[in-house]
Amino acid sequence: MMPARPGLFAIVLWAAASTSAAAPPASVLQAPHAADRPWDKGGALVVTWQNTMPVDFTVHVRRLGGAEPVALGPFPISSEQFIDSGLTSGIAYVYELAVHDPDGNQVSVVRTSPAQPRPNLFDLSRADEAILIALLFAVFLWGTFRGSPREIRPIAGVTAMEEAMGRAVEMGKPVLFSIGWGAQLDKPATLAALNLFGYIARKAASYGARLLFPAHDAVIMAAAQESASAGARLEGRPELYREEDIYYVTGSQFGYAAALDGILCREKPAATFWIGTFAAESLILSETGNQVGAVQIAGTDSTIQLAFFLVTCDYTLIGEEMFAASAYLTRDPKAQGALWSQDVLKVVVATVLVVGLVAALLNWHAVGNFLRGF
């Protein structure tokens, strides 16, 4: 039995030596790993490791996989992860992690396996926006399809529209509508202005007033032609629709202003509607309109141009009034319901503003940070 004992001892020693050779030494970073960051739009990887070394060691990371290696800077070894963003989705990246001791000497180097950033089904970083939009949708849908008629405070500029057109008919002069050089069909303000134009076109057809619409954009011109044609048809007077009165002028800002000034001086309209998105041409147009003696009604979402309209026009729809005007004019229960939803949300926004103000004054950082997140 004795001879066998040294042999068994040798096997145990060998096994122990093999085991210690398989496990990495303490100075080598444990479990280096790179993986796609979940719930994002792609382009980011999360690199992780396990730390078994003193906390004053650092990890120097290099990204391999692009045209040339990129040094991503030293990280505290205790952080155990970092996120590499701004990458190209679908390309494999490898990370080299070098451990340095407090004196800056490199102790060991390991590499991760290749990993690819991928876009996911939902971008979690936009969850707050999704919740906010879902709430907005819910309130608007509820208000719109509940659709009960509501009392809306009279908007002076809107009630004056019909008077302005009546004046034009009495004077035998045309009505001019401009949507502004800044209007584009993908802007909500343009759609709101076209809604009002649809109403004015119908009224013009019912009164028999001539309606001019010089456009700076051919797509808007086509939409306005369609709207005016339908307005005349709905009033049972399709013969009053004149396609040549809704025409393209130019896409140039001051060319448009010059053309409209010329039209104002030649045609001398009895009423002008400046409703839409305006830029520097607003004052040139409305001041000329004032000089030819037209009744002027303006409405815009451009805060800078509002001041010019206020001093040159008889009535001005300020910001949201322009969006509310069509609901007011048509008395459509659904549109009025949507307007009611808008007011509910305004109360919510005002409440949030007051809460934010109080939180800032009382140093309630948690509330402030929560609100800032949105």
Binding site: T144, A218, I284, S341
Partner: protein
């Protein structure tokens, strides 16, 4: 059908592009890029439509309105000249650019410069002392105008500070109030259009 097809397209594209914002899959991104490309295509087609409408309108006016004939002919000649110049060459030393720099740009600047005179007449009308409100407006305008020029500092160092405060605090507060209303109004109109509640812009009845 004339109204339903555009409404169907607006609702479909509106909802799809909204969802795409939250779903970052390659198919969604490709759909978004394609939609932007189509916007460019529609814009280009719109230019053609505009050019054709412009030519047709002025040809008709030249033929039917004697008093406006010279202007319409000039407009048509300008359109033809720029089209030919652009078709021949567009570059640094091209005739097209020369025409743009030496004719169109000065004309635009001329119209823009009219703004200075219009501001003066509009300011005169706006600042007339007629009521308490207009008096307040006049006082604030005077403080801001004098506070913004060097002589304001000489009159009193308080004037520039007061001008800055008026511009940075009450004016910004009012502007933000309007912008919040505009933002909510934009969402409301967009939803009304996407849901097909608002149809006047398409020529439909409300």
């Amino acid at each position: 059908m004339r109204l339903r097809l555009p409404l169907f397209l607006v609702t479909g594209f509106g909802v799809a592009l909204l969802l795409q914002y939250f779903i970052p899959l390659p198919a969604g991104q490709a759909f978004y890029s394609r939609a932007l490309e189509w916007m460019q295509v529609i814009f280009a087609a719109g230019l053609l439509l505009g050019g054709a409408n412009f030519a047709r309108l002025h040809l008709k006016r030249a033929a039917t309105r004697k008093d406006e004939r010279p202007y319409s002919l000039l407009a048509l000649a300008a359109l033809a000249t720029m089209l030919v110049a652009g078709a021949v060459s567009i570059g640094r030393d091209s005739t097209f650019l020369w025409l743009f720099d030496n004719l169109q740009a000065p004309m635009q600047q001329t119209v823009f410069s009219l703004l200075a005179f219009f501001v003066a007449t509009a300011a005169y009308r706006g600042f007339r002392l007629r009521s308490v409100e207009s008096g307040l407006l006049l006082s604030v305008a005077l403080i801001v105008m004098i506070g913004r020029i060097p002589v304001g500092e000489l009159i009193s160092p308080v004037l520039p500070q007061a001008a800055s405060w008026l511009v940075d605090v009450p004016a910004v507060a009012a502007k933000r109030g309007i912008l919040i209303g505009v933002g909510l109004g934009s969402v409301a109109v967009s939803l009304r259009v996407i849901l097909g509640v608002e149809r006047a812009w398409l020529g439909g009845s409300q």
